[in-house]
């Protein structure tokens, strides 16, 4: 009997202790957010996202705008731009502050830009109201310039880059105009032309793109196989020559032409990047 009572008592004790412990240790939403903020501050973004989402699930809608923004920022910092854009959108919809809304729009546009989705970024910027202060107007122009540069519409990009500078910054404007006037900075080498001339003379496309080693390699390899084919045709038969060398010849002939296009594209991208960085440098130094 005593044993039975003791058993019951200890069970009750455990139950009470559990309830007490639960009451003491249960986190409030504010505590969860504080913990998430700490994690965010310590650059532990993945855990911060988890905690913010937990707070979001249990919240009664008080800090919903802040939570969306923090989840978006955390995703942005771990380069998860698709999710970041989604949460910036939610934060934008729940926000009532105009300047915060503008900031969120820019953040969302930057997610699309970093994802190389320039069309969507452009659509996002259209949401801006026409009457903006200089601060946002300036930033909006910069975003437009970057987007049009990515869309390869260099004339429009130039016009937006020029808008960043004020009327007194004539030298900077002149420098930007000079850079954009040199078409070579953006269109050379032409990948289609490189491929075409590579089909006419193997290796010439690579030489045109400035890759001499690769061009010479292509020329020697394809002409070597062609010479071997002629040799076999002379000493054996044309059928033997086609059977033994044609697959190799066409492999390196077509491959060389395709490579020349790739090399030209790569070279052009490098040149564009160099030009873009030059422009950014001008803006940077003008701001200093």
């Amino acid at each position: 009997m005593m044993k039975y009572i003791l058993k019951r008592l200890s069970l009750l004790l455990i139950v009470f202790k559990f309830i007490l412990f639960y009451n003491v240790s249960a986190q409030s939403i504010d505590e969860t957010i504080k913990f998430a903020d700490n994690q965010y501050g310590e650059l532990n973004y993945k855990l911060a996202i988890k905690e913010y989402q937990r707070a979001l699930f249990f919240s009664n809608g008080d800090k919903i705008e802040y939570l969306y923004k923090q989840i978006a920022n955390s995703n942005f910092n771990i380069h998860n731009y698709d999710k970041a854009a989604y949460y910036y959108e939610l934060s934008y919809k729940t926000s009532y502050n105009d300047s915060l809304k503008n900031e969120l729009l820019l953040k969302k546009a930057s997610c699309y830009i970093l994802n190389e989705n320039y069309d969507l970024a452009l659509l996002e910027l259209i949401n801006f109201s026409d009457s903006l202060d200089i601060y946002f107007e300036n930033r909006k122009n910069f975003y437009y310039a970057v987007i049009y540069f990515g869309l390869e519409d260099f004339e429009v990009s130039k016009s937006y880059f020029l808008k960043i500078f004020n009327d007194k910054q004539l030298l900077e404007k002149q420098q930007i105009e000079l850079i954009f006037d040199k078409k070579k900075n953006f269109n050379n080498p032409n990948p289609k032309f490189a491929k075409l001339i590579s089909f006419i003379v193997p290796g010439s496309g690579q030489l045109y793109s400035g890759n001499f080693k690769n061009g010479l390699n292509s020329l020697i390899l394809t002409s070597g196989i062609a010479v071997l084919g002629i040799y076999i045709a002379q000493y054996y038969s044309v059928f033997d020559a086609i059977l033994s060398t044609a697959p190799w010849f066409f492999r390196y002939y077509v491959g060389g032409a395709q490579n020349s296009k790739k090399i030209a594209l790569n070279k052009r991208a490098k040149r564009r990047d160099k030009t873009y960085k030059k422009i950014l440098n001008i803006i940077k130094t003008s701001n200093n």
Partner: protein, 128 residues
């Protein structure tokens, strides 16, 4: 007095513009650095034994002279030649068999067995 106050606020405001544009510049600084840098295949230089040295020389010759002139046909990342070379480095002569096995799998018949590598449409199949 009013003018001075106005100038003061304008000064603060202009500083704010500059700082923010600087942040934007930093954010978008490398978005167009998507071009590929040249890859140098001098794998025979850090060889541990003769087998590695010989395969390294063949690999470098193939990569520099022949493969550089070929279009991209391999469906894997790393490519079959790189995989074979890495496998030989790791497993010795058995790596050649591993390479032959990889070549026999170099097609798009079973995409469910592989993950895609980053943003490319290449199957990811590294040497374990």
């Amino acid at each position: 007095m009013k003018k001075n106050l106005l100038l003061f606020f304008l000064f603060i405001f202009v500083n704010k513009i500059c700082a923010q544009t600087q942040n934007d510049i930093k954010l978008f600084e490398n978005i167009y650095s998507t071009y590929q840098e040249k890859v140098h295949y001098n794998n025979f230089k850090d060889s541990q034994n003769e087998i590695e040295q010989i395969t390294g020389v063949f690999f470098s010759f193939y990569k520099k002279i022949l493969s550089s002139q070929d279009a991209n046909h391999c469906v894997f990342y790393p490519s079959c030649s790189e995989y074979t070379f890495q496998s030989i480095k790791k497993n010795g002569v058995i790596g050649i068999i591993d390479g032959i096995d990889r070549l026999s799998r170099c097609n798009r018949l079973s995409p469910e067995n592989y993950k895609l590598y980053k943003n490319t449409n290449l199957f990811y199949d590294p040497v374990d």
